[in-house]
Point group: C2
Chain length 406, copies 2
């Protein structure tokens, strides 16, 4: 009978220094001693990736993406080697492997490569020899043996993808928080750790800025039905299990409240209200690689309308240069932007089958005189744009209104 | 006609920070603009390698050598990526390559691997596309694609080996000193930069602690007759050319004075003076991987003799444990050691055909009342062991006696 196999991923804070690395090693060894085959994925130590990017930005404003990947992939190579040494010290056999050595084959999109295939032969061979296999997260290689990286949070993706191809019994993501919370505990004091959450909800939370798990890794886990256990590397407590939807989940109306501050609102005033204009505007924007989140179009007045959308605040200069050109070409009056906004969202599978979540949300915000700028909804989410300075009050208000506290 | 090809190696101090990296990039680009194909080899930034080894030593006293190579090979990968970006910034095409990507094939002796073969196809392809090729020094891979490193100073070896296989016109070694000196300028104020020196002399200087070039790389250069130009990365001045012996060199009696402080003297007293005893002693020592430098055996008194040798001071505990065992087994009286010594050497091709160098050396030391503990000689070198506290005075005295000053 093949042994039970577990994939464990340790994030940057969980390997931030030699003390934390020893801590991670002890946990790895405890699973090994309990009879598991253990495959470990690590991120770079603490802020290493940002420090390396800082060096690059001192040299050039537009570094080659291929060279960035050469540069930052070293961070994970350092952490896997150190973790292997720490496991050896505890008397277990272990071997570290780079993405290239494993055979994590990606496309050639440097800094945001997609995994095409994973060769499991090397990992299987090392496991069969009784070793803990420690894989550098976040990285792979393309068909030309060039080093690639998978984008921010890519180590989560490495872990989930390995869990899939190795048919792991579980995929544990170790981080510096105890799990997924009903809201950011720094904002809401009595935020509650969720024991279980669906992939769909986690996807909304991840993309809304809960910063626990990278969205793409949740998508992959969902697609292949791989349970993910998000938990703290600093305690033995159970964290949050992310699984497919189960009946009991639907009884919970709202699972969590999130807030995102990294967006800006762009408004085009007095756009001629003719068919095809919106398509032209957003077609141009998409062609230039600018991500749009919410879109609002007001009721037409005298053949003209106002059009607003939100986008990433850090790209606002580039976006405005483009939007100003578009404004001219479609005959709109002017384009303005507003970075002083935040998006507050209510997420929950239960709201699919219940009305009244939106009403409760709007009523709660109104009770605190928090004005709503824009609204967007999906099947399991309602988002409102509010003033940035009101954002945290809005989160606390909604957390209370939906009775999410401990 | 193929273009002229130059190999340039930049040491750790020459890429210690982004300013130095930009400086190196400017020099690389200046050669490219003068019509050269340029292949660059870099060391890790400043003290990176020692910092990484420091992390490892916090985790374990006996780290796996395979994992050490995984760990420290990242240092050069960082520096090549950054240098490539700096060259791009200056408008030239460049690509960085790890040892594995080049195809620098080594044996499997981690931390001290020997180069078996270098695949030049990738470098030739990139050069043909007009790129500067920037190769991570100090590293390679074995037949199983495991990362290996070549030992301290291994980047020099990478550069010389690439110069050989690429049939380079020249191999330039950029460092933080202006070239090879008649003595350490920190000890002897008027030490003079040598314009030219033979491989043989450089080998003696390198192994005697001149710390400019790794001895193994000089051996390779000598074997394949590759001229090495050691020069400063911080000035445009010509440095020291290391070449095969030419007639003019023989006219120079002595090229330089060196001092080594990292040795200790071990003495076995009252060793029975019987055939085979020395063979037995040094056989045991060699079997245990302890390097011996000088050996002295005094005249036998009443069937017993004293035997002294010098070895690396850092290994003295291990050596003494072994020597005490040997002392007992051969019936010698006792074993003592002395770490308070230094070895001062006079090196020069010219002394081959001239007598009197030894006499001048001994007379000069005697004039300053510097006592000589041990003496050893080779065809182009005479070394004396003196008290450590007298070492620098001895160097200055000999530098003056052989009229080596500016």
């Amino acid at each position: 009978m093949p042994k039970k196999l577990i994939v464990q991923k340790y994030g940057g804070t969980s390997v931030a220094n030699t003390g934390r690395i020893e801590n991670a090693a002890r946990r790895v060894v405890s699973y090994k001693k309990r009879g598991y085959d253990v495959v470990v994925v690590t991120s770079a130590l603490g802020d290493t990736t940002d420090e390396l990017l800082g060096l690059a930005s001192k040299l050039t404003k537009s570094p080659s993406e291929r060279e960035i990947d050469m540069l930052i992939s070293t961070g994970e190579q350092v952490s896997v080697a150190l973790l292997a040494m720490a496991v050896h010290k505890l008397g277990e056999e272990a071997i570290s492997l780079t993405g290239a050595q494993v055979g994590i084959i990606t496309d050639s999109s440097h800094m945001k490569a997609r995994i095409i295939d994973i060769n499991v032969a090397r990992i299987r061979k090392e496991l069969a020899e009784g070793k803990v296999v420690i894989v550098a997260g976040f990285q792979g290689m393309n068909m030309d043996r060039e080093i690639t990286t998978l984008g921010r949070g890519g180590s989560d993706l490495t872990a989930v993808a390995l869990a899939k191809v190795l048919k792991a019994e579980a995929c544990e993501i170790y981080t510096d928080v105890a799990g997924v919370y009903t809201a950011d505990p720094r904002i809401v004091k009595n935020a509650r750790k969720l024991d279980r959450i669906s992939y769909e909800e986690m996807l909304e939370l991840a993309s809304l800025g809960a910063q626990v798990l990278q969205a793409r890794s949740v998508e992959v886990a969902s697609k292949f039905n791989i349970p993910i256990h998000v938990r703290s590397s600093l305690s033995a407590k159970v964290g949050t299990l992310i699984t497919k939807e189960v009946k009991a989940m639907e009884e919970v109306l709202v699972s969590g409240i999130t807030v995102t501050k990294g967006e800006a609102k762009v408004t085009l005033r007095d756009v001629p209200d003719k068919p095809g204009i919106a398509a032209r505007i957003f077609g141009d924007i998409a062609k230039n690689g600018i991500n749009i989140d919410m879109i609002i179009q007001n009721v037409s007045r005298t053949g003209h309308t106002d059009l607003s959308f939100t986008t990433t605040a850090s790209d606002i200069q580039k976006t405005m240069r483009l939007v100003k050109k578009i404004t001219k070409s479609v005959g709109a009056k002017e384009a303005t932007f507003d970075k002083d906004i935040a998006k507050v969202s209510v997420v929950g599978i239960g709201m699919r089958n219940h009305s009244g979540v939106a009403a409760t949300m709007f009523r709660a915000l109104a009770s605190k005189k928090i004005n709503i700028d824009m609204i967007s909804t999906s099947e399991i989410k309602i988002s409102c744009v509010v003033r940035k300075k009101k954002a945290e009050e809005a989160v606390r208000t909604l957390h209370k209104a939906f009775k999410l506290g401990r």
